[in-house]
């Protein structure tokens, strides 16, 4: 080949490689940006006075005196609203059926939305659900609600060739020249005094349990559940995996049976994770009856089976990669086989084994399908360590899915969902980072 052609080939390969890397970096940024940005919203957000009230009443956090002053302040700002509503209700009472027919439905819709924004209206019974006992606790949700109060959302279907076109009309037009019309102007001007939004850093999001199906509170049960499941899986998979790897690499030799065994282990790594989940349900729970229904233990065992092939193969590779000369040296000094493995081969293979463990740990933390049938529930308390033997737990991976698909008011708690995603990603990244650091330390020590 001509020198010119070779150079061109080299250059084009470089270009393609760089292009691929840039593409991946860009997509990573595009992927991570909303996770980080919106996930941070679970921790740092503007809270309204309702949130401070909730914190005080439900959890006893914050200064009672300060919050009470704020409540008095906001009550004063809200009073004209309530007065206007009372006046309009009286007007309706007197106005006769025609008046009621014209405004009844519109007013009750408005009243409901105001109750959602500000919390229970004066004279209302205290509702059962916590979410109805308080107004909007987050300023971003309050603004969305406020927008809904100001504008009526309508769809225009007049053009058959187009999808319905959204039109927003001021709600005040519905109540034109009634006594409640000034309410909208008043809200517009005083909404901040009524809610007192303030930037807050809710670091306890990680360590609080959730209240009222994730409407309030944090994700500690999920974090803890993920932690238990991943660690439990490692507890079973690591010793079993390393012992198997030692057997395969040092004792098994080369027979038909052993190569069949290797093939089986490799194929096991390719089995879809949902199949492992069903296997866990059928084997650990239904057959072995290790727990009465789902439990963290059953989930850990299932996850252990999922990561076992990875641990075995990677550890075996690591053991086989240890130079034969180390083994010879140890043997020539009179070390037995077992001693050689423990004192020379395993320490030299430690980096590789550790890598496989950490990768598996990250995988076990993130897997969803295997725990659906074996360990995960949508809401739960943080478990003590002995409770993991018999009780199920929520976990980040499964609850991200669960919140997105099953929650009755998913739009209201998007921040929780993103917070969970951010936490899970951070956990896995942190694990991998630890792995890289430990690996670097050990291989530096080994290289001298």
């Amino acid at each position: 080949m001509e020198l010119k052609t070779r150079r061109m080939l080299d250059r084009s390969f470089t270009t393609i490689g760089v292009f691929a890397i840039v593409l991946m970096a860009v997509s990573l940024v595009i992927l991570l940006q909303p996770i980080v940005w919106r996930g941070a919203g679970a921790f740092i957000f503007r809270e309204t006075v309702e949130n401070r009230k909730l914190n005080l009443e439900l959890l006893g956090r914050g200064s009672r005196a300060k919050v009470e002053i704020e409540i008095t302040e906001t009550e004063a700002a809200r009073k004209p609203v309530y007065d206007m509503m009372a006046a309009f209700e009286a007007e309706m009472e007197e106005g006769g059926s025609a008046f009621r027919k014209q405004y009844g439905r519109e007013y009750s819709e408005l009243r409901d939305m105001l109750s959602e924004l500000l919390g229970p209206l004066p004279g209302e019974k205290n509702p059962v659900l916590i979410r109805a006992q308080y107004g909007r606790t987050r300023w971003d949700r309050a603004q969305v609600k406020f927008h809904q109060i100001r504008y009526v959302e309508k769809y225009d279907y007049s053009d058959p060739d187009r999808m319905g076109v959204k039109i927003e009309k001021p709600r005040s037009a519905l109540f034109e020249s009634t006594s409640i019309e000034p309410l909208f102007g008043y809200l517009e001007e005083n909404i901040e005094q009524m809610m007192l939004p303030k930037l807050t850093f809710y670091w306890r999001f990680l360590f609080d349990r959730s209240f009222d199906a994730h409407f309030f509170g944090g994700i500690w049960p999920e974090v803890l559940g993920t932690f238990y499941l991943a660690l439990g899986a490692m507890l079973f998979a690591v010793p079993l995996g390393i012992v198997t790897a030692i057997y395969l690499a040092e004792y098994a030799g080369e027979s038909r049976f052993v190569s069949l065994l290797r093939t089986c282990i490799s194929s096991l790594a390719g089995v879809p994770s949902i199949v492992f989940g069903l296997f866990g349900l059928a084997f650990f729970i239904n057959t072995m009856k290790i727990s009465n229904g789902k439990s963290v233990l059953a989930g850990s065992l299932t996850l252990a089976f999922l990561v076992l092939p990875t641990v075995i193969r990677a550890s075996e590779e690591a053991i086989l990669a240890v130079p034969r000369t180390y083994k010879e040296a140890a043997m020539s000094l009179g070390a037995g086989k077992w001693h050689t493995i423990i004192s020379v081969i395993l320490p030299a293979a430690l980096t590789g084994i550790l890598t496989s463990i950490i990768i598996s740990l990250g995988r076990a933390a993130g897997e969803t399908a295997p725990i659906i049938f074996t360990a995960a529930v949508s809401v739960g308390r943080p478990l003590a360590i002995w409770q993991t033997l018999s009780q199920p737990s929520p976990a980040l991976s499964w609850n991200i899915y669960n919140l997105a698909t099953e929650h009755e008011a998913v739009d209201e708690i998007r921040h929780v969902q993103y917070g969970m995603v951010l936490t899970l990603v951070a956990m896995v990244l942190l694990l991998n980072l630890t792995a890289i650091i430990i690996r670097a330390r050990i291989s530096k020590k080994l290289r001298g």
Binding site: G253, T325, A329, S332, A335, A348, R447
Partner: protein, 278 residues
């Protein structure tokens, strides 16, 4: 350590000008004996019908062209060949009169008696101290002070003590190639073996390190029975008392090094040492 310069040494293999050891005592008793000894890899015999006795306390060199079975024979002495699948032996190989391949032989205690230094330096990825202490430790010594004494003594024997005494905790892989090989020698003598096997111990080293290893062999002579396999005929002539010449698995000639290199009994030996083949 003797500070023999390279210039003191014979420059070439030209017959007659090599100075041999004056203090040869061939009346020593044989320590390792082979009698009709074979080693097979599968169906191929790598060592065929080899019979000769290696006397105690001397340096015996095994020379021969590549693939002649000299390393195989050496590794048969501490049964390192056991690690190779499909390897089996026939005939008799004895140490101190005891058959090494008898079923009741404990390989671990055999290897404790027969130390080995390999072609490529192969220290463990551990500290210098732990490398030397490894052998005594696996044989049950735990006393830290005693271990320290053994480590110092062994490193002194390997002429490495002065270079590493201030950094015994450093990783052994940080040493130079020659230092690593001397460390391996120290590691081997730390278990106090009777026999030291050396499989081309200097072939991966530069000339300076090679000469230090050769000096060491001369110093250890008498204390240990040393069997050295080498490609380098000058080396065999310089360090050994006795020389065995192997060719295609057969023992062609065995005798005093002086005699082998000056008046070889066989035509093949002469052709080999004068460089006509090999």
């Amino acid at each position: 350590m003797t500070t023999a310069d390279a210039t003191d040494r014979p420059a070439g293999i030209a017959l007659g000008i090599i100075e041999f050891r004056k203090d040869m005592q061939l009346e020593r008793r044989p320590l390792i004996g082979s009698n009709g000894f074979y080693v097979y890899y599968g169906d191929n015999a790598a060592v065929k019908n080899v019979s000769f006795d290696i006397p105690e306390g001397l340096v015996t060199a095994i020379i021969g062209p590549s693939g002649c079975g000299k390393s195989t024979f050496l590794r048969a002495i501490n049964r390192m060949n056991d690690l190779i699948p499909g390897c089996r032996v026939d005939g008799e190989l004895t140490l101190d009169g005891q058959n090494l391949y008898a079923p009741q032989v404990d390989v671990v205690s055999l290897r404790k008696m027969v130390g080995m230094v390999f072609q490529k330096p192969n220290p463990f990825p551990k500290s210098i101290f732990d490398n030397v202490a490894y052998g005594p430790k696996i044989h049950g010594l735990t006393d830290r002070r005693k271990l320290g004494e053994i480590v110092e003594h062994s490193l002194r024997q390997a002429a490495l003590w002065n270079e590493v005494k201030d950094r015994l905790g450093d990783n052994a892989l940080g040493l130079s190639g020659g230092q690593q090989q001397r460390l391996c020698l120290a590691r081997a003598v730390a278990v106090n073996p009777k026999v030291l096997l050396m499989d081309e111990p200097a072939s991966a080293l530069d000339p300076r390190s090679t000469s230090r290893i050769e000096d060491l062999i001369s110093e250890l002579r008498g204390e240990y029975t040393i069997v050295i396999v080498t490609h380098n005929m000058q080396q065999a002539a310089r360090v050994s008392d006795l020389t065995a010449f192997l060719y295609e698995g057969n023992l062609i000639e065995f005798g005093e090094t002086k005699q082998i290199f000056t008046k070889p009994g066989e035509k093949q030996t002469e052709d080999y040492i004068t460089g006509r083949f090999g």
